[in-house]
Amino acid sequence: MRSKDGKNNNMTDKFILKKDHLVSFLRRLKKEYHLVAPVKNIQGDTMFTLVDSVDEVEFDLVNQAVTSIKPFLFPQQETLFTYETSANGDYRFDSVCNSQPTVYFGVHSCDLSAVLYMDVTFSLTARDPYYLEKRKNAVLISVGCNEPSENCFCNAAKTGPFLEYGFDLQLTDLGNRFFVDVGRATGQEIVSKWQHFFAPAEEEDVKLQYQTYLEARGKFTRQVHMDQAIKRLKSGKVPESIWSELSLRCQDCSGCAYICPTCTCFSISDRKLSEHEGERLRSWDACTFSGFTRMAGDHNPVDHRTQAIRQRFLHKMLYDVQKHNRPSCIGCGRCVGICFGGVDIIRFIDLVTN
């Protein structure tokens, strides 16, 4: 764990991994784990991808991936179980869960924080076996962000650009080498198992890592007053009219929820496969949809015309603060600028704080 002043470090959990050795390290890892890493395609999109061959892809640790690793732990659509009925009416269920030990490599700090949030969501009121099974099999190797992107505000959300816990290993780019922080036990195991890749970090490396961290903090271009917005929401000073004004602009795309690393609303439905067989699917859903709350018989307790986005913003910025003492917006900035009606979380925060 990094201490605030960069001194008095326990040197046994700080290592150096030379960049030259990264690919061969990943090749090793791949022998024991599935490897998911950010890969840039020829069109220029960076996506977390299940890597077939470490030699045939371009790893991209700098640009933010199109999505976080949410779709791997909580897929857009997954089969919960299959069911069968027989002529005598019998009704049977067979649970399905696919999960393999997987290393998620190159996860940015914000996205890793989102995983920590999802851990709570999927185990607080009930234990969700599908998420937790995949999570149990997940090894998280994060990378700190030396260069925040234009829409990033993890500094305001306190989820980056570097982390102090939650990762198995955390990498910091120091030019020709990575500084490696060891977090959880699996990280320690990996370093021990493939120790020939890891040299103990020198005092110089520790200083440079700390300096990198400080510099990164100074590079954010967006000023997002999240704390202030939370304070105003808590105090109840935000007028109710704000919701109808913003909701009118919501065009029901669900993009903000789907792209968000911490949005975990879902729906469950049956898909018929034949007369007597089917599967129960869980799929992403968005609280901005009017069908999200509409009950059988068409009564809807939420007027989505005027409240479409109320729950989304308040859940992230107020309810989770009341419950967990921190907002569930992790400041990744993915939803910024993507809203069809121009209502994204930064707009919202600006509106609340002005």
């Binding site: 019998d90 269920f93 607080l124 089917g278 129960r280 009950m295």
Partner: protein
């Protein structure tokens, strides 16, 4: 690697329809038991809780218990035709299989009702969860004081649970009054919305707990009326209905401001609902 997960909260258990009671043209009561005999013996629930019911190809929906755990071996769900799943349920016959998981939700706090006069106000299918409480109280009558039941429906032919209503009306320590919005030939009873029955009863606000369930509009008027009568917010208890998918506090379909009806409810007292954006209470 495909394997079965132990203790999968999403996996229903097969159950069989033992008996089917037609309450009216819209409501049927299903007496159920799990196919797994062992599980039947250990299964318990509390009034106010609900089960997630599965029908093949139709998905799931939350349905409140209408039976009472004080009568072991009975597990009844009363269902009004409203959507795809409930319509499919109405097509089923005795001996048919359905899937069940639960029980879910925060129940009525029966302890808090002890020693109180109980006023039940229900409309339509809203009597189902209250029936669970009423019969529980009757089975433990020494714990509770006077019981008053006000029940309204649209038409006389819509009155559900008539067997129970008959029994309740016959009990000396119980007042059970019925009303309909619109009379039909042969109806000699009261006509008018359920709040018009309040004139016929006397209520001691300090010792009474009111339990209310029914359509949103009814809940709104009844709650307002009860407050006007001087009953404390903590003693006005209602149970809400919402669209639900998981039933266990994850999917968030039943959100109501910072509450989730499936885990924080469906039973709420009025004090808890104050300051919330609750559709039933908005004017």
């Amino acid at each position: 690697m495909i394997h079965t997960i132990n203790q999968n909260i999403y996996l229903p258990r097969p159950a069989i329809i033992k008996e089917l009671i037609v309450e009216n043209s819209q409501i049927k009561t299903f007496d159920l038991s799990f196919v797994d005999e062992e599980y039947n013996k250990t299964f318990t629930y509390a009034p106010g809780q609900f089960m997630m019911v599965s029908i093949p190809h139709c998905g799931e929906a939350p349905i409140s218990f209408s039976s009472t755990p004080s009568r072991p071996g009975t597990l009844s769900l009363s269902v009004r035709k409203a959507g795809t799943l409930t319509n499919a349920m109405h097509e089923l016959t005795e001996g048919a299989f359905i899937g069940l998981r639960g029980p879910y939700g925060t129940p009525f706090s029966m302890d808090a009702l002890k020693g109180k006069n109980l006023l039940f106000v229900a409309g339509g299918i809203g009597l189902a969860p209250l029936r669970s409480v009423i019969n529980y109280c009757m089975d433990n009558e020494k714990d509770f004081r006077e019981i008053t039941i006000l029940y309204g429906s649209r038409l006389p032919s819509d009155l559900a649970f008539t067997a129970d209503l008959d029994l309740w009306q016959k009990r000396p320590d119980t007042t059970c009054l019925l009303t309909v919005d619109q009379a039909e030939p042969g109806w000699n009873g009261h006509t008018g919305v359920v709040t018009t029955l309040f004139d016929k009863i006397t209520v001691d606000p300090s010792s009474t707990v009111a339990l209310v369930c029914g359509p949103p509009l009814m809940i709104r008027f009844v709650l307002a009326e009860l407050s006007r009568m001087g009953i404390q917010d903590e003693d006005i208890i209602t149970t809400l209905e919402r669209h639900m998918k998981c039933g266990v506090g994850i999917c968030r379909h039943c959100h109501m401001d910072n509450k989730l009806v499936c885990v924080d409810g469906p039973v709420f007292n009025r004090a808890e609902l104050r300051n919330l954006e609750v559709a039933e209470l908005l004017t």
